[in-house]
């Protein structure tokens, strides 16, 4: 791997970690419950991008499956929490 790609991977890993830190600050500090759900949504997307970048770093296909699973379950969790905030129950 060349120096350019290595440098870009390190820089994007750093920026995505910073994005995860910002989202966790909003998750802990959010005044309302919907703020926390939005922060959790942003957090799992940033974690999924982190896994894609790590997959390029190690050159392995396994990280794609983990990222796809995180996307699926993160969407299910966000929709469940939004439905709970909307109606007070998840499945009606």
């Amino acid at each position: 791997m060349s120096a350019v790609l290595e440098w870009a991977i390190n820089l994007s890993l750093f920026m995505l970690s910073l994005a995860i830190a910002f989202a966790s600050i909003r998750l802990l500090r959010g005044p309302t419950a919907q703020d926390r759900v939005v922060a959790l949504d942003s957090l799992y997307i940033s974690g999924m991008l982190l896994l894609l970048v790590l997959g390029i770093h190690f050159g392995h296909h396994l990280y794609f499956d983990v990222a796809l699973l995180i996307a699926l379950f993160g969407f299910a969790g966000s929709v469940a929490m939004a439905k709970f905030l909307l109606r007070g129950e998840v499945i009606e």
Binding site: S2, A8, M15, A23, D41, S42, M48, G59, L68, A82
Partner: protein
């Protein structure tokens, strides 16, 4: 991974895609942290959700296609899935926030004043 398998222009392109996608996700998270109320805050992370995810997926597709020597398309699944599901989550959350605000204001206006003493004064 063998280092010489990917041409230099593809390495530069993958590096540009990765840095741009991570920067968009960082801008979205920064807006989520800095904006004032909820209805402004929900706009910020959709930047990283849609464009940041697509650009990172494009870089990943280019990298693995160049590494394998054939087109590798299955990472587009993540991009399509996020592209479909992010607006659904946003719409549900905004609806939930509107309903919660309305219910909170109604219950605040409806509560009896002066009957039960000072138990609500601290809130």
């Amino acid at each position: 991974m063998n280092p010489g398998s990917i041409p230099v222009w593809a390495q530069w392109l993958v590096a540009l895609c990765l840095v741009t996608g991570a920067l968009l996700a960082l801008i979205g998270a920064f807006g989520l942290l800095r904006l004032r109320n909820f209805f402004q805050r929900i706009h910020a992370p959709s930047l990283g959700n849609t464009l940041g995810t697509w650009i990172t997926v494009a870089g990943s597709v280019l990298f693995f296609s160049m590494q394998a020597g054939r087109p590798v398309w299955h990472e587009v699944l993540i991009g399509c899935f996020i592209f479909i599901t992010a607006p659904v989550t946003s719409i549900l959350l905004v609806r939930a926030a509107l309903g919660r605000d309305r219910r909170a204001s109604v219950s605040r206006n409806d509560e009896p004043t002066g009957k039960t003493g000072d138990e609500d004064d601290g809130t």
